[in-house]
Symmetry: C2
Subunit: 228 residues, 2 copies
């Protein structure tokens, strides 16, 4: 049995703050003594299930978030750039297909989260850097191709997207997040002495490190995003 602390990261590629948390947690999984479990989840379901409203509905908050993301992107070295029409991309088009696709990729993994990590990153890059679609099968294929999946793997993942099994898996991950107490993403759940400790957002890493007895070293550089 491993003595590593288990940390789950619930995320949706439609959420820019999730991208920050995702990159930071992926970097730190090599630094801290943790087992990181990537949990693709559906933000729309969590917002509806918790009764939460998108923060961007308040004009001053929307303006602030743009500047905040801009600064954080530079500081964390994650190439975030908001799509031209944020409400259209985030809420009208949404991420149900994309997160089913990531769930399908996870379903196909034999061990580890390597492909889930790479495919998720490519999807974020599409919507939150290139301002491109993440709802159509062709978009999902392209992201998966860039992430290194083979043609047959991509075909299989697209088929799986429509399976009851994958739909249910995404739904139950979303319900699990709600049961933990989610009201948005990213949500980091640290399992400490059999008890889940929740950290919402991408601004509790220093506190998280303190809680798990590790050291926060600031945003580490990372090869996977630094080259953009």
């Amino acid at each position: 049995m491993s003595s590593r602390k288990v940390i789950e990261l619930f995320f949706d590629v439609v959420s820019p703050y999730s991208w920050l948390a995702f990159e930071v947690m992926c970097r730190y999984r090599k630094v801290w003594n943790i087992e990181l479990r990537l949990r693709p989840t559906f933000l729309g379901g969590v917002m509806q299930g918790s009764g939460n409203k998108p923060p961007g509905l308040v004009p001053n908050k929307f303006l602030y978030m743009g500047k905040d993301l801009n600064r954080l992107s530079e500081y964390f070295n994650v190439p975030l750039k908001p799509p031209a029409d944020v409400p259209e991309a985030m809420f009208k088009k949404g991420s149900l297909n994309a997160m089913r696709f990531v769930t399908a990729v996870q379903e196909m993994e034999k061990s580890g989260d390597e492909r889930v990590e790479r495919v998720s990153r490519e999807l974020w890059r599409r919507i939150w850097y290139e301002d491109r679609d993440i709802t159509e099968p062709a978009s999902l294929s392209e992201a998966a191709m860039k992430a290194g999946l083979s043609d047959s793997e991509i075909k299989r993942a697209l088929e799986l997207c429509n399976s009851q099994e994958v739909k249910e898996k995404l739904k139950s991950a979303t319900e699990e997040a709600l049961d933990y107490g989610a009201f948005g993403f990213p949500l980091v759940v640290c399992h400490l002495n059999g008890k889940p400790e929740l950290f919402f957002g991408s601004d509790r890493f220093e506190l998280l490190a303190h809680c798990i007895g590790e050291k926060w070293l600031g945003p580490l550089p990372d090869k996977s995003t630094a080259k953009l």
Copy 2:
């Protein structure tokens, strides 16, 4: 002319996250090369003016905030303890009188913010540690007494509370915060090269330090709150 960077902290003693930011900024004003300006403001006015809703209305968010504040209180060494009835204390009773009182104390200061700092801290301690009233004149007097104000100063501050001058001063500080783009407190406004940079909440200190070219050293210990 001083070369110190001017940083304004807009706060309301009804807001627990403001207390965290207040203590951290007061500690760092001795560490960073900054001129900290305390800006007592009315949270109710900013929520109404920006169209924002209290986060605690979403049940999962309310639960999370309780745990979050608990952990942050320990980590930042600020003795936060929620009042038994948070909605009653925060929204029904509110902080209009308290913030008028702090504004009056500021109006009476000859130079510096020393009394504003001490009175604000005592008011936070009342509502967010001792679960006591901060709306009645007797409550305000008691807090001011603990903060070291003399009887005549307290009498004068209570009189000033009802003056048009102080009412207007609080109102215009609140409007100024809204003009900067506030949608809640704490709001830290850093003046960098003549441009205001906004930081909302008590979780951007590391980023703030980076932006002003200073170093974040974590939550420093502080004599004023450590003894509780």
